[in-house]
């Protein structure tokens, strides 16, 4: 029996794995100590739990536990990495390179850096969403201190050529930071093999709790430091003060361990389901996949259905299926997804997109139901779409003078 609503928005957040919750519970009540309390068993227990979780987190990404700085999540991680490098390496330079398809936590932090007097290059991406390596290298200046490129995109799931990007950064003596929120725990990420210097990731995208994340900060070859953005007790090697969120950290550790053990199997299963979904939806006339299909997360698909508006489409089934769209039809924002626009998609196709994020708990039955519902709704809405009618009559929509409002 299908249970509703079906959740297919795992890029936004994931449900917590019950095994994670189970690991966390004792740390709310029984073992509630402050990990910084050095003088009694409550503190010792908490510290021990944090140390163990730090090892679990480090093991997932091939890091040393000492290189893990716990944060409140990836937004904080992005801020700490970029602002922290900007301040720490001010004597070396003030230029940062990033891309237009980054998450807002990176883009807005870069804008903040510009206000402070820093310089930022925003690289355009190719049609398939990938960064052009030649352009990246050409953008490096003597004053460049950081390259900030995400591991995998949250809207289209494309996976950037991380090894190549880090090699270019290293060749020019520039640090490489990656927001790996969508990738860690889903595909193999190894900070050594991938040549990553700093990396932000978070628990709630990998079946862990919200409110806890980590920043990986490399300790050798090179030894990287970031200036703290929060002053206080000097926790986390002085880079992030604040009492540690012990239950959250325990849950994060458990989530990392589960991902390390299960992600290979999850990825195989989910890529089959994703491909089934995608193949079926591409049977619909005038539907297109957005982003590179080869270099892509196994559980993500972003598809545009021409001449149907995304929010209207969602309404056809959003009581039963939780999905997100690249279209925002509000008076505050008539702009469709900036990521899709960065791929060079026309606004019409960008407004017509749905993002699918499958997850550990997605079943084939749910996918079958989703295919049926979406196909039906697309057909129904096209029957009432003036654009579809014109398209069918062979009218070139670009030839019409639209009243822009």
């Amino acid at each position: 029996m299908l249970k509703f609503p079906i959740y297919l928005d795992n890029n936004a957040t994931t449900p917590m794995d019950p095994r994670v919750l189970e690991a966390m519970i004792p740390y709310f009540t029984e073992h509630f100590g402050n990990a910084a309390s050095r003088n009694h068993p409550f503190g010792w227990e908490a510290e021990e739990a944090v140390d163990y979780a730090r090892e679990q987190v480090a093991a997932l990404i091939g890091a040393d536990p000492k290189e893990i700085i716990f944060t409140s999540g990836a937004t904080e991680g992005d801020n700490l990495a970029i602002k922290g490098v900007y301040e720490m390496y001010a004597s070396k330079g003030n230029h940062i390179i990033t891309a237009t398809t980054e998450h807002k936590a990176v883009l807005d932090t870069c804008k903040h850096i510009e206000k402070l007097g820093g310089e930022v290059t925003y690289l355009e991406v190719k049609e398939d969403g990938l960064v052009d390596l030649t352009e990246l290298e050409a953008a490096i200046r003597p004053t460049t201190i950081l390259v900030a490129i995400m591991y995998a995109n949250n809207e289209i799931g494309v996976v950037q050529p991380i090894k190549e990007i880090s090699a270019i950064a290293k060749k020019h003596g520039v640090l490489f930071f990656t927001d790996a929120v969508q990738a860690v725990g889903k595909i193999p990420v190894n900070v050594i093999n991938d040549g990553i210097d700093i990396m932000a990731f978070t628990a709630h995208k990998m079946y862990g709790p919200k409110g806890i994340g980590a920043l990986y900060v490399r300790r050798k070859n090179p030894r990287v430091k970031v200036t703290a953005q929060m002053d206080g007790g000097g926790h986390e090697r002085g880079m992030r003060s604040g009492t540690l969120n012990v239950p959250g950290i325990v849950g994060f550790g458990k989530a990392c361990e589960l991902s390390r053990l299960e992600m290979a199997d999850d990825a195989v299963r989910l890529s089959k389901l994703r491909d089934k979904l995608e193949t079926a939806l591409l049977q619909i006339e005038e539907s297109y996949v957005n982003g590179n299909r080869e270099h892509r997360l196994p559980h993500v698909a972003n598809i545009s259905f021409k001449h149907v508006e995304g929010e209207g489409l969602l309404m056809g089934f959003n009581k039963n299926i939780a999905l997100s769209s690249g279209s925002a039809c509000t008076s505050a924002s008539l702009e469709p997804s900036y990521v899709l626009k960065a791929l060079g998609l026309g606004d019409d196709l960008a407004h017509s997109s749905l993002r699918f994020g499958l997850g550990r708990f997605t079943t084939e039955e749910q996918i079958d139901y989703t295919i049926e519902q979406i196909s039906n709704t697309v057909h129904k809405l096209r029957d009432m779409s003036p654009l579809w009618e014109m398209y069918k009559e062979g009218i070139d929509l670009n030839s019409i003078e639209w009243a822009h409002h």
């Binding site: 508006e309 029957d383 003036p386 019409i400 639209w402 009243a403 409002h405």
Partner: protein, 139 residues
């Protein structure tokens, strides 16, 4: 954001979806919005030349649920009204009837614009001057 029941009802069972013969002299067609803004509405009225009464109205809309509901409701209201009465339909009446939240008011404005564009199309076809309407500016 949750939709009101009336919006859901019009979205699920839209009234008067379809196409009238835009070449006919007694049909007025209004096409408003733009694909890049995420809303396009086409609203058509069939007018009885003798009485000036709108005998039929049809729409097709590319847009969100509120845009579809606004145009569906507009066609309902148009039928049976004279062209003069139709001109008095205000977008805020649609907002009230559909309980549209502030971020969706532009959908109702678009529907009002579509009505006026359809009326003007009808007028021009019948040798009458085009009316100039005040800009709502709520888009």
């Amino acid at each position: 954001m949750a939709y009101s029941e009336k919006v859901i009802d019009h979205y699920s069972n839209p009234k008067n979806v379809g196409t009238l013969d835009k070449g006919s002299k007694s049909v007025g067609t209004g096409l408003v919005g733009a694909p890049e803004c995420g809303d396009v509405m086409r609203l058509q009225i069939q007018v009885d030349d003798a009485t000036g009464v709108i005998t039929d109205a049809k729409f097709k809309t590319f847009g969100c649920g509120s845009a579809i509901a606004s145009s569906s409701l507009a066609t309902e209201w148009l039928k049976g009204k004279t062209v003069d009465q139709a001109m008095a339909i205000d977008n805020m009446d649609l907002v009230e009837e559909l309980n549209l939240p502030p971020v969706k008011i532009h959908c109702s404005v678009l529907a009002e614009d579509a009505i006026k564009a359809a009326i003007n199309d009808y007028r021009v076809k019948n040798g009458l001057e085009e009316l100039v309407f005040e800009e709502k500016g709520v888009h």
